[in-house]
């Protein structure tokens, strides 16, 4: 398995939107490396003939009818908002378009 460097962690932290100090980046790289080594054999156990299991039980076609339920009021929806204005959630400026 590839080595996990400080830069790997910096990239992952950016993807995960978690700010990390230089110290944390270094420490996490070491910890992650240990974990990845410990779980490495997982990728060697099962061959191509083994199907993946994403659900523990074989359920299928669970759907609901298209019937409207009781929505939250706008007030309830906004009740936990860190910041709101004009009945909407307020967020700081967005750096980049989409």
């Amino acid at each position: 398995m590839s080595e996990i460097t400080r830069d790997t962690v910096a990239h992952l932290a950016a993807l995960a939107h978690i700010e990390m100090s230089e110290e944390q980046l270094q420490a996490t790289a070491g910890e992650l490396q240990q974990i990845v080594q410990a779980v490495a054999e997982v990728s060697e156990v099962a061959g191509d003939d083994v199907p993946a299991t994403s659900h523990p039980l074989p359920l299928r076609n669970v759907m609901r009818e298209d019937v409207v339920g009781e929505p939250l009021t706008a007030e309830e929806a906004l009740s936990g908002a860190p910041d709101a204005e004009d009945g909407q959630f307020k967020v700081p400026a967005i750096l980049e378009e989409d």
């Binding site: 076609n61 019937v67 409207v68 009021t73 706008a74 400026a93 989409d98």
Partner: protein, 500 residues
């Protein structure tokens, strides 16, 4: 910082365009894709949400069966295979309009794949476009940027988020690369989106209103040197939300790519944004590591495995494909090519069909929908369908004309009053006393007045110049405020003068 462009003609001399489209169709289900919140447009912000559509801690999604049915029907109408097993997947990225910071979508196992649709270019030339896949996903909320000068994202101080749209069911239709369009590429782009819009409308699965974002198009454009077989690098233009814009955006991107490539540069694979005001695109951001969406199977949902019998039932119940339907209607109605194309472009095919079905003649139906109704809608700046005039109204007007209760001129006034919400035609004619004056007594009084005032005309008619009678009809019509039947007035005058 506008980009250099080559003229379209010059671009076409040296390059072949390759197109690709990702069209998002918002379904008109009553509820959202994964929860029972109402799927409604234009309500009070954040009033159409549940804990699920807000992505609150602890919530779980449940698939809307109607949305799956719509997806299967659309897949069938696009001649796709329907997957015996399809999964939902999470597309992970952070954005404040996305409540969970992942979008529940489909990845490697979409509900429909490998289809095709044959569209018609403006002159009727058919062109078959291959469909890669159609998959189900959810829409995001709506961001409003505040504090900047333009309302655009650049320079905004903060943004407001309304999650009413978050979770609205979407179907994304992805084409395979489209080659061979040549200089008709822009026209083809428009025709393709028109065809998809028409298709989802005919299936009744979407309101298909582009101005409301019910149908949204991302257009991929790349160029390769004439005769080459390897595709060039593509750009993906977003925010192309009208038929006209689709055509223009494709044309613009072809010209921009051609300028870059001709000057020895290379195209950056990136997102571009279409601006209707400047009729140009600007660079979004290049594809980067941030596009690592970390797709994985959605563990909170189970596979969709449509029953083959259900699929066949849906297939059997599909409406006639729009192209075939058009061919049939054109023949039935006896319109010329031009007349029919105008009807299609005005988007009143359904209205005329209903009007004819309810008993009006095809010519009359076209006359009203393409005439006064279209004119009025244009004046009021609304869609024809939104004017409030229905096929039943038109049929009723036609029958009032047939019974000589009103004439064409009065009918136009009646249409105006219908649009103002005054009720149905008969009701309006009654309330506003618009019926043609058919009481001969009233007419004869008016005729006597007219004859008394114009003895010279009377003499002329009596002398055999029958066509001079028109000069007498005018004042009679005026006296009855246009509500007399001119034919009847003529008859009465001639009778009186013993000329008939």
């Amino acid at each position: 910082m506008s980009d250099a462009t080559l003229s379209f003609e010059e671009a076409m001399e040296n390059f072949d365009p390759v197109l690709g489209f990702e069209v998002h169709v918002e379904l008109n289900t009553k509820t959202k894709m994964f929860d029972a919140a109402p799927n409604e447009f234009g309500d009070v912000p954040n009033s159409n949400t549940t804990p699920v559509s807000l992505g609150l801690p602890g919530v779980l999604p449940v698939v809307n069966k109607k949305a799956v049915e719509s997806a299967v029907r659309l897949g069938l109408a696009l001649n796709c295979s329907i997957a015996p097993v399809s999964h939902f997947a999470r597309k992970n990225y952070f954005y404040p309009d996305t409540p969970k910071n992942f979008q529940t979508s489909q990845y490697d196992e979409p509900i429909a794949f490998d289809g095709e649709i044959t569209i018609e270019l403006e002159d009727g030339t058919p062109f078959t476009i291959e469909i890669e896949r159609a998959h189900m996903e959810e829409d995001a909320g709506k961001l409003t940027h505040k504090g900047g000068a333009t309302g655009r994202i650049q320079g905004a101080e903060f943004s407001l988020v309304d999650y009413n749209r978050a979770g609205v069911p979407l179907i994304e239709i992805v084409t395979k690369p489209i080659v061979g369009a040549g200089d008709r590429a822009p026209e083809l782009a428009r025709a393709y989106v028109t065809a998809i819009r028409e298709l989802v409308k005919s299936l009744g699965i979407s309101d298909a209103r582009m101005e409301r974002g019910n149908v949204r198009c991302d257009a991929n454009v790349s160029l390769m040197p004439k005769g080459a077989e390897v595709f060039g690098t593509r750009s993906e233009t977003k925010n192309v939300n009208s038929l006209r814009a689709v055509e223009r955006a494709v044309r613009y991107e072809i010209q921009r790519h051609a300028a870059v490539l001709s000057s020895g540069g290379s195209i950056v694979q990136e997102t571009r944004h279409w601006h209707e005001d400047t009729r140009s695109t600007t660079s979004g951001r290049p594809k980067s590591d941030a596009d690592d969406y970390r797709y994985f199977p959605e563990p909170d949902l189970v596979p969709v495995m449509p029953d083959p019998a259900w699929i066949e039932q849906l297939r059997a119940e599909l409406p006639e494909p729009p192209a075939e339907r058009r061919k049939k209607l054109k023949a039935e109605w006896g319109y010329s090519d031009e007349e029919f194309r105008d009807v299609v472009n005005a988007g009143v095919l359904d209205e005329i069909e209903s009007t004819v079905a309810a008993g009006a003649g095809a010519g009359a139906a076209r006359k009203w929908w393409m005439g006064e109704i279209a004119r009025l809608a244009n004046v009021k700046g609304v869609e024809i369908a939104e004017l409030g005039v229905t096929p039943a109204h038109v049929v009723e007007i036609e029958s009032l004309i047939g019974a000589k209760t009103i004439n064409d001129k009065i009918a136009k006034q009646v249409i105006g009053h219908i649009a103002d919400g005054e009720g149905g035609p008969a009701q309006i004619v009654e309330a506003r006393s618009l019926a043609v004056v058919s009481d001969d007594g009233v007419l004869i009084t008016a005729i006597d007045d007219a004859m008394a005032q114009m003895p010279d005309v009377v003499a002329k008619v009596q002398g055999g110049k029958v066509q001079a009678v028109g000069a007498l009809i005018g004042p009679v019509m005026k006296a009855t405020r246009g509500q007399a039947d001119a034919g009847r007035v003529r008859e009465l005058i001639l009778e009186k003068l013993g000329v008939s």
